[in-house]
Symmetry: C2
DNA sequence: CGTGTCGGAGAACGGATGTTTACTGAATGG
DNA sequence: CCATTCAGTAAACATCCGTTCTCCGACACG
């Protein structure tokens, strides 16, 4: 294994992570543009000035949260694209994976949905760039499927972007229902998502007319 | 014409509207949860305490902005649903209407997109309720088309919700591009939206299999 | 082992915040 | 015409904010 470097750096990264966690927790009930620096440090239990050892300002922390949030989403995308069987099973698995991800990472999902159109330009741009990368990744996955043989690259990307948008919207909708402890609404949204994916899938089959 | 009541009430509504306008303007570069009461009154040129004559607090002003914003969106929905000719012209007109609406009401569009998943619960709920009403209205419009004859009411509503979501996302995307004065990106997004609508339309035609 | 590095503490700053209070003066309506 | 209503004013309140400064003490390393 690699040489363990620095009790110093280890502690620094620990508090840095604590700041990120506290920020994410506080963002459950407000937007990034109203998140206070002192608020974050207070929750971690460090002096306000310590914040500057890790981030230039709050938007900077926001950008770091984008990387953290969408980094873990990468796993989800790959899991969905790796599915082998037919269209129907694929859709079921996709929605199931999204449901599970939302259940396990509610704060990250909420953060992305909230700040995607939020009040901090730098964070908006970071999210948009990352989602564009996801769309490209999905497009590459779709390309490999025989169904896309007659498609132009532009159209494949268009479809991929629709999938990504639909994924974010679905995740956010499930989260909203989960916040109200409304399991019935959760299932209803999941079923709706499945049918919407089926509809898109149908359109995809008949695209080349 | 009706009896003109109250120079008193007229002036009151005038400042109330001024507060709403100022709030909407300030929300171009921040979220509602960080909008300051004093900030709003300062821009209007009125004492901070005067705010309380019109709204209980900032979230209250937020829900008033929801009514104002989505009230004007009603017109767009009806304009789209009233289209008579074939599917292709319908799609073109739909996107054109959305483009025009975004160009004429950028602040309202941004507000809805931003606060739909924003940090203020009351506003989120108000937007969700209003969008649900839109979806119901769209569903009623779709029901009347012969294509939907074999559809269940649930499926029609599912489709309507997809249209509404797609509409909001498209409007927001066009707005983002317009903010960067990127006319090319605007056109690209509009074209993408048209193709996505075509894909959905295709799926719709083959749903009953 | 001794010296330099550096993450964090603590205090202080000027300024902005939401809310309440007592008030003014013009429109209102009997 | 006169008493009342009420939108808006002005000042004061306690708090909170982001940022800067100096200082400390534990780790790093030659």
């Amino acid at each position: 294994m690699s040489h363990t470097i620095g009790v110093r750096q280890a502690q620094k990264q620990k508090t840095r992570q604590a700041l990120l966690d506290a920020g994410l927790r506080l963002l459950a009930e407000q937007s990034l543009s109203s998140l206070g620096l002192r608020e974050v440090t207070r929750m971690v239990g460090v002096a306000p000035a310590a914040f500057y050892r890790h981030f230039r300002d709050i938007p900077d922390l926001g950008v770091a949260l984008v990387e953290e949030s969408l980094g873990s989403l990468h796993v989800v995308i790959r899991a969905i694209l790796a599915e082998q069987p037919g269209a129907e099973e694929r859709i079921d698995r996709t929605v199931a994976v999204v449901e599970q991800y939302v259940r396990e990472n509610p704060a990250h999902v909420r953060f992305i949905a909230r700040e995607r159109h939020g009040g901090v330009r730098a964070v908006r741009k970071a999210i948009a760039a990352e989602l564009a990368r996801f769309a490209a990744e999905v497009a590459a996955g779709l390309r490999e499927q025989p169904v896309s043989d007659a498609w132009s690259d532009d159209d494949v990307l268009m479809l991929a972007e629709m999938y990504v948008d639909h994924l974010v919207m679905t995740a956010s909708a499930i989260l909203d229902a989960a916040d109200d402890d409304d399991a019935v609404a959760c299932d209803r949204i999941a079923e709706r998502a499945r049918r919407q994916l089926r509809l898109i899938s149908l359109g995809r089959l008949h695209w080349t007319d």
